[in-house]
């Protein structure tokens, strides 16, 4: 008992520090918020106070020790301290197709001067959540923080306690956005203090509308900082959303991201999570299919190297009949790195005729790397078609032999097959431009951190059809 008491004490210290910072925030930076938003923060603060930070004794955090995050003191960066960044600094982070539909945030602060929404129709609302909390108060208030189970997501609760700004995107009925909307989160270096940001994104896609959204997290310096982001998406009836998350933070940074999706009848949601950066990165992707005849496609690729840890926890909750979901996550795990995949598919009693398929494949490139994978299927309906599977291994010996038998050296053959392993999953990204964008980041990553030999561009069979 003495030991666990000590742990609680220690945990308490970490939590105390965040609570003190939250009080300071409430009394200073966030004092302009409307009362209802203050109430949301206060309730989330309460939840976080109850739960504290998770430890490896919690099942959902068994393989991901976050003590390096809780032991570090982080500080919110004042808005004025983030002004040094200019549009020219952004060129390499902005997707060309989204150059006129991009919202830019620096250390968590919205930068209107760096953002450009000119490609979007007037009917689409896109901008700072803090602003839209006033401009579209009812819409925001009805949805914000409504569906997230904060009691089981301590980092989302912490984010809620600091909920102030982030991206707000609202696509009204039957509107199709003409270009992908990019939400670009950049962190800068602070020599004396380690920055923390709590972005909160709210994505509303109304009946019959469609949108493509890319969230990018990157940094302008290779420093230590902490991003604790939450994205909520409400995908209404007959709407279609393609969503991509690119986590390309500094390799010294910490990233915890939670996504909570509500899907209504006959909607289609595809998501792709690309995880490249961070010392410790954790993504929780929770999709509640709360309607019939929905399609859900949740895919991802993680490429940790060196001492990185990348953790994906996904949860697809089938609550209604006649829906299909497909999930493919792949990992290329190198160096001393570690990857965690926990994919849960829940099929409730009412969700008859569910068709669900989940796969997790891991390419283990070094003896020192560790992969933990746990596909979970919990089915309470009797008329369903569900499969899941996971693999961990090296490159296929028969494929290696085939490539080498064409005169290609061992290193180059391994490089080719590693590219092929990645290409197999990026192939599921619908939008050709975004697929190319993700492919280029994958190749850059493999070239810099994983593979020594020359690398080809990724090609896809579907793009030729």
């Amino acid at each position: 008992m003495a030991q666990s008491e000590r742990e609680i004490m220690q945990l308490g210290d970490d939590v105390q520090r965040y609570l003190a910072d939250q009080s300071a925030f409430e009394n200073n930076g966030a004092s302009k918020s409307p009362a209802w938003l203050k109430d949301i923060r206060s309730a989330a603060r309460g939840k976080f106070t109850q739960t504290g930070f998770p430890t490896i004794k919690h099942e959902d955090w068994r393989f991901t020790n976050i003590s390096p995050i809780t032991k570090t003191s982080f500080h919110r960066v004042a808005e004025n301290d983030s002004k040094s960044v200019a549009r020219t600094d952004l060129a390499k982070f902005i997707i060309p197709e989204a150059s006129k539909s991009v919202l830019v945030f620096v250390n968590g602060h919205f930068r209107k001067d760096l953002s450009d929404m000119s490609a979007l129709p007037k009917s689409v609302s896109a901008g700072s959540l803090a602003e839209f909390a006033h401009l579209e108060e009812k819409v925001v208030r009805d949805r914000l923080n409504k569906e997230i189970p904060l009691n089981i997501l301590p980092f989302a609760a912490l984010n809620g306690a600091f909920l102030y700004d982030g991206a707000f995107v609202h696509v009204p009925e039957k509107i199709k956005t003409p270009s992908p909307i990019q939400l670009l989160y950049l962190s800068t270096e602070d020599k004396d203090r380690r920055p923390v940001a709590y972005p909160r994104n709210l994505l509303l896609v109304d009946r019959g509308a469609s949108a493509t959204v890319v969230e990018t997290y990157a940094s302008l310096a290779e420093g230590v900082y902490f991003t604790n982001a939450v994205t909520e998406a409400f995908i209404e009836e007959e709407s279609a959303v393609d969503y991509i998350k690119v986590q390309n933070e500094s390799e010294k940074a910490y990233h915890v991201g939670t996504m909570q999706v509500q899907q209504r009848s006959r909607s289609r949601f595809t998501a792709f999570s690309l995880a490249l950066g961070s010392a410790i990165a954790r993504n929780d992707l929770n999709i509640v299919i709360d309607g019939e005849q929905c399609e859900t496609m949740l895919d991802g690729l993680y490429i940790p190297a060196n001492d990185q840890l990348v953790d994906h926890h996904t949860f697809i909750d089938h609550t209604r009949p006649n829906c299909s979901s497909r999930e493919i996550f792949k990992g290329i795990v190198a160096g001393n790195s570690r990857s965690v995949f926990n994919g849960k598919i829940f099929v409730r009693q009412a969700a008859q005729k569910t068709d669900s398929k989940q796969t997790n494949k891991n390419l283990l490139l070094s003896d020192a790397a560790i992969v933990d994978t746990k596909p979970q299927l919990e089915i309470f309906a009797d008329d369903v078609k569900c499969t899941h599977g996971a693999t961990v291994g090296g490159l296929d010996a028969a494929s290696l032999f085939y490539v080498k038998s064409r005169g290609i050296s061992e290193d180059a053959a391994r490089a080719l097959l590693t590219v092929g392993f990645a290409g197999e999953v990026t192939n599921y990204i619908n939008d050709e431009h975004l697929r190319k964008y993700v492919d280029s980041l994958v190749i850059e990553r493999l070239r810099e951190k994983v593979v020594k030999a020359a690398l080809p561009e990724i090609v896809h069979s579907s793009s030729q059809e």
Binding site: A397, F401, Y402, G407, I408, L416, V419, Q464
Partner: protein, 253 residues
């Protein structure tokens, strides 16, 4: 060019080749026939250096060098080519990149300058005509989504681009319809020269109507039990492998 002496090989502890002897000279076409499980494909794989097969005895000389000591990529660089019975799919990697990488490594090995993208594309397009492949295959991922016939044609395309001295075709005819068979055979015939040699491994005589062998060898239970001219293939087609098998057993017994 190739001299196989008393070659023995096993896979997962199971003996498959039990003493193969074969001599192939430049300009010759050899057919290796035999019933299922006789070791035909094992022989092809062992010559190309498949790591799953363990050579337990004998030797293979290729241009006077010890072939068995070479890594698979070095064998390819030395001019050995295996057309696979089951070509492997490589998603994400284009056919042209794959072939250019192979060809340039072979050229580097020979001390030649690598081809740039333009030079290579010109060669690739010429060779694609030879096997009647559509240019859309240039940028498709290697073998991914190809039909059985397209995969086999792609193997012959690779052979055409890499210009091997010794080509081994492992059941290239399996899964091909008659039109595809003719195209593949035509490609192989056009690549034949007095400087190179071809070993055709096949279960059926059909392919040998189009790629006419100088010698036919019958492999049964890991040994060559009978050798002859092209007429031996016809004889096998008429009488099946049973007669040779019986002859072999009589000899062995």
């Amino acid at each position: 060019m190739l001299e196989i002496k008393n070659l023995q090989a096993s896979v997962a502890g199971k003996e498959i080749l039990r003493g193969i002897n074969l001599k192939v000279n430049a300009g010759e076409v050899h057919a290796i026939m035999g019933p299922n499980g006789s070791g035909k494909s094992t022989l092809a794989q062992v010559l190309a250096g498949h790591p799953s097969y363990e050579v337990t005895g004998g030797e293979v000389l290729y241009d006077g060098k010890n072939l068995l000591e070479m890594d698979p990529e070095v064998r390819a660089q030395e001019g050995v080519f295996l057309a696979f019975q089951y070509p492997v799919e490589i998603p994400g990697v284009s056919n042209s990149y794959f072939l250019k990488a192979g060809l340039n490594e072979i050229r580097k090995y020979k001390g030649l300058e690598p081809f740039d993208a333009m030079q290579f594309l010109k060669i690739l397009k010429e060779k694609m005509k030879l096997v009647e492949m559509d240019s859309s295959f240039i940028n498709r991922p290697v073998n991914e989504g190809f039909s059985g016939g397209e995969k086999k044609r792609n193997e012959i395309l690779q052979m055409a681009v890499l210009e091997p001295k010794l080509a081994i075709l492992d059941e290239t005819d399996s899964g091909l319809d008659i039109d595809a068979l003719k195209i593949v055979a035509n490609g192989v015939n056009k690549l034949k020269s007095p400087q190179n040699a071809v070993i055709v491994v096949t279960h059926y005589q059909r392919l040998l109507n189009y790629i006419v062998p100088d010698f036919v060898h019958v492999l049964v239970n890991g040994r060559i039990v009978k050798s002859g001219g092209k007429e031996l293939a016809l004889e096998l087609e008429a009488n099946g492998y049973e007669t040779v098998r019986e002859e072999a057993e009589t000899v062995a017994g």
